[in-house]
Symmetry: C2
Subunit: 439 residues, 2 copies
């Protein structure tokens, strides 16, 4: 075997223990809130048949899906998100009691050019309710989002709401054609990056008539409270059934959300919000932070027709992605992680020499049987190097047992922070270590 350069595939990452501790901290809070809202875990395969993945998200997504043929010449791909696999699964298991509430935390892949903050492999963390046409389900999803961010100590964030039905209404009264609707959404979705004039240009590039473009822009640029905006839209939508439906739903959604007591500074109706994916059909929502500038940290919406593509009959569904990777980035920048996320190892049992090694094993066994997280030194270094390891790994307690201690059935305990050192009998060791750890 020849020597190989240890290269990682660009756009993917190794997560070392210090990274994993942060990820696990965030995930444990997310899972806790999911559980409290009555959601249960689910997983689907990484590889799906190409037929399952293709044509669900839009052309760009199709191009960015990892696609290959397996040894049996089957066309397959790595999942692009967790929503399409969920939809396929729901069609596979029609007997699942509805509404079905699941969360799913797994990696997804994008055959994209890697950039700062954009990866070829990253985790998505999705929560969805399948089988409920009620905006109560949308309200629950939004309330979860808010609860998770609060629990993670986020202070400044905005949850923006809109509805694909309202955007449909705007398209209808603008005179643009039905096929142009998704183009309008895609253009609007870029507003944070390209600004209002950029959207206008993009719409024209999409060959949407300039009358329609101006009509759309005029409506979008409405200002006012959620109530004012909705009431103005209602007046405009007299000829748009879908538009009026959207207004009605949005008003009910905002009414329900009041019960969840989400502050008005956090939650509001926002006509700029469009979301880029093809499959949304009703309310859509997104969360943004002001600092750092990183785009949305959660995003989702209702997709009532996607499951029907697999099952033949439609099944209403709504849900959101919680952007685990961006949340971690923001928490890092804003210093929102607790200080004590260092090593979990509580005690290092050193090895004096070969003759006392069995005694060191015995000490470790005792500590471990008491549930104390214990590292038994197995390397080549003398005591000095072993202390170095405890130092590097920030292990708070080190135990030393040479031939004298072994003889007397005792050990030396060293506290790494203070440097303090004292002898304890083997019998008292557990009690002593436990009391040191709660200090």
């Amino acid at each position: 075997m020849k020597q190989i350069q240890p290269r990682i595939y660009k756009g993917t990452r190794d997560f070392l223990p210090e990274d994993m501790r942060k990820r696990n901290y965030v995930l444990s809070i997310i899972k806790e809130i999911f559980g409290i809202y009555g959601f249960e875990p689910l997983e689907t395969p990484s590889i799906e048949l190409w037929d399952t993945l293709s044509g669900k998200y839009g052309d760009e997504a199709d191009r960015l899906t990892y696609r290959f043929t397996d040894r049996g010449n089957r066309e397959v791909g790595l999942r692009y998100d967790l929503t399409v696999p969920l939809s396929r699964l729901i069609a596979n298991y029609p007997q699942i009691p509805k509404p079905f509430k699941r969360y799913q935390i797994q990696p997804v892949w994008r055959a994209d050019k890697p950039q700062k903050g954009r990866f070829r492999e990253f985790y998505q963390c999705d929560v969805d309710i399948v089988g409920s046409p009620s905006v109560l389900a949308d309200a629950e999803i939004i309330a979860i989002t808010n609860d998770i961010l609060k629990k993670l100590n986020f202070q400044k964030y905005k949850i923006r709401l809109n509805s694909r039905k309202i955007l449909s209404g705007i398209r209808e009264i603008s005179g643009a054609r039905r096929e142009e609707e998704i183009l309008i959404c895609r253009a609007l979705d870029k507003i944070d990056k390209i600004g209002i004039s950029g959207v206008r240009r993009q719409l024209r590039d999409y060959k949407i008539s300039s009358n329609s473009v101006e009509s759309i822009m005029e409506i979008i640029l409405f200002e006012g409270t959620s109530e004012e905006q909705l009431s103005r839209l209602k007046d405009l939508f007299t000829s748009s059934k879908v538009g009026l439906e959207g207004i009605e739903e949005m008003s009910t959604l905002l009414l329900y959300l009041k019960e969840y007591q989400i502050s008005k500074e956090i939650l509001f109706f926002d006509l700029y919000l469009a979301r880029g994916l093809d499959y949304y059909t009703g309310p859509i929502f997104e969360t943004n932070v002001e600092e750092p500038k990183i785009g949305s940290i959660t995003g989702g919406g209702r997709y009532d027709n996607l499951i029907g593509l697999f099952s033949g009959n439609d099944q209403p569904a709504t849900g959101t992605t919680i952007g685990l990777e961006r949340i971690i980035t923001v928490m890092d920048e804003l210093n929102l992680f607790p200080n004590n996320l260092s090593t979990e190892v509580q005690v290092l049992v050193t090895v004096f020499d070969e003759s006392t090694l069995p005694y060191s094993i015995r000490i470790s066994n005792r500590l471990r049987n008491a549930g104390i997280k214990t590292d038994l030194y197995s390397g080549k270094s003398k005591l000095r190097g072993q202390f170095g390891l405890a130092n590097d790994k920030k292990i708070p307690i080190v135990i030393i047992a040479g031939p004298d201690e072994k003889e007397k059935n005792e050990v030396n305990v060293k506290l790494m922070k203070s440097g303090e050192q004292f002898k304890v009998s083997l019998i008292d060791l557990i009690r002593k270590v436990q009391s040191l750890l709660v200090e």
Copy 2:
């Protein structure tokens, strides 16, 4: 978009909530023991460069690795195991303090024909110590394996030990050539499936001289206690340096393992054990259960040269895979899962009608704020259907609040098991539900 058959890619699986509960139960115990032994979590990417993956495990494994080119024409593959990615990572981060103790729980992929119990995607759960040449590290890995199986309530299992150095010694004194050593290991690795005569046939098929074959088989077929076998081998190995080294290490390993108090009925030296992968260099170990017949449920060993392929200088390492999937299969068949692994949802709050819906939200909020796992019904069914859902999902407590209850600020609590139903004021609700849940 056209309608699509909801097909899963063969050899992969969906894990529904009832599957996930079992998986999470096993994983929580495994992670707890890993933590107690001082191991920390780590993850690596699913996709690695083909150069990283190829030529590490043997020809068959190379063939079974999912391989494709990305959009930039780079040759990549899906990881085949977690050991090679760890080795690549260690070379990438030479500054990691050693011994480095990590665990890693992630899926791996095999482009294999799916069969009962053999999947194209499955989780591996690995625990390794990098940077320790001492058999104490091997002993720790074996002790963890034993602790995990005990904690999972396994009764009848055997941990088998051997050493690639001892197998080298046997090869040397058999007169077989050095290049034939891995073939001898691969043939022996199949002994459970093809029996002793099958191994003999396989060795001849590999064109190993019949003198060597007979000499190997004679030694392998030794019977006796671990001590008797080792002492006989020691006598035979006078001319084999590596063989004697293997005997010496195995004796020390068995001595250390005594301190971990693993019963003699569980742990023993077994010359039949060879392991199929190319990269092992020292002690190897495997765990088998008698029932059901499923092959090994854990397996690993020392691989002192693998990391050197990436870093240029060797780094001793040892570890094992805990066969999560097989462990779950065995626990299912032997009924080792606790009975209470049903839904985690504790309360279903029903919705009487549109007018009382905000009151139902308020009730859910209270329960959720108290940390009670609460489903708020968001579907289309009347109360009867809502009770049906509680029944299907085995949710123990159902709360009903119609206009009368809303008026009086109270709720109806129904216990699904007994059918008992009573009224509680909103103020007393949390205390009442909490006391019902601990009953």
